[in-house]
């Protein structure tokens, strides 16, 4: 169903959100790393037509986090341009691609407003942003660990905010901590006693940051 040998490049599906006999709403990426969201918009006796929109990483995360509905994901593309891609059942017939300015998009060829990707199914690492920076605080070097993640929406309903943990990763930082018996230390659970904690929230997101007197934050990663 993916168009082959076109200007979209060599595409492969990276996430399927809805399947009906075949993937009908999905994200795909080409070899150059460009990500597209695609939805099935028409069928004929010898072809299917799809609507593709290019996505920045940020936009991709917002859609997956349920902050942009599917109607606007396609109807208000970042580049103000969508692509209609016609793929013939016969692979010997070349796909046809037609650019469509956002203002010319037909409502009948868009998802209805108010439907979202369910963030329950989004990969955690894609929902969260997670930053680490070295800082010199209170006389010693440490690092600031900040993370920021959306409230999880399913439609208009806020889902329970999911717990998180952070762990050391031994492979990334071998033999530099004497306390390696704590390879899987749960930093989040110790934050109130060993770290300085700040919290902030807004309508759509909330975040927290911690400070730890460890010298290399590269050994940390989020785990589900």
């Amino acid at each position: 169903m993916l168009p082959e040998s076109t200007v979209l490049g060599k595409l492969s599906i990276i996430e399927t959100y809805e399947f009906y006999d075949m993937p009908i709403l999905f994200a795909c990426r080409n070899k150059a790393g460009h990500v597209y969201l695609a939805v099935w918009i028409d069928r004929a006796t010898d072809n299917d037509t799809w609507l593709y929109v290019a996505l920045s990483r940020r936009r991709f995360q917002e859609i997956k986090a349920g902050r942009i509905d599917l109607h606007d994901a396609f109807g208000k593309p970042e580049d103000e341009l969508a692509l209609e891609v016609k793929v013939y059942f016969d692979p010997d017939r070349r796909p046809e691609i037609r650019p469509v300015p956002a203002r010319d998009l037909d409502e009948d060829r868009l998802p209805l407003p108010g439907d979202y990707l369910d963030p329950q199914f989004c990969a955690r690492e894609d929902v969260w942003s997670f930053s680490r920076s070295r800082q010199h605080t209170a006389g010693f070097w440490g690092f600031q660990l900040s993370f920021h993640y959306p409230k999880l929406y399913s439609g208009r309903h806020v889902l329970q905010e999911k717990p998180f943990r952070i762990r050391y990763v031994a492979e990334a930082k071998p033999f530099r901590f004497e306390s390696f018996e704590k390879l899987r230390i749960d930093l989040a659970s110790q934050a109130s006693s060993s770290g300085q904690r700040k919290t902030a929230g807004s309508e759509h997101s909330w975040g927290e940051s911690y400070f730890y007197s460890l010298d290399d934050p590269r050994c940390l990663e989020l785990i589900a």
């Binding site: 996430e15 959100y17 006999d21």
Partner: protein, 129 residues
Amino acid sequence: MAFPDYFPEDCPPEDAVPASGTAYRLVGSPIAVDDFLSVRQRYPKRSFSNPEKECKVHGLSVYRNIDHAQKTREIIPALRDRFIGVCTLRPEYGALKPTPSRITGLSHCTWWVAVGVEPWEFFQTLEEQ
């Protein structure tokens, strides 16, 4: 239970079970043979990347929950003009396996239709749009 000769080896998968229960599928009105063509039948020359996908495209999507058929119709423009068809599946109709999708969840199943079964004869359109 026999399946068409063109099905790949090990398809339907071992964990598929005899079909049963209520199933919903998006169909045209009147219901026609074309409403029950698998992707493999529609794209006979296309290749798929692995045996699991190859097997899946020999099956048909059905929903256990009518709300999810409705939801798919809302989201997918190509299916917006379809009607909801319903039937009560029987073991001789083929094999069924839950194949959850992200939006419609556990309701989505893949149905591999047994040889000689003609779903257009027993599916009924549930409502007019």
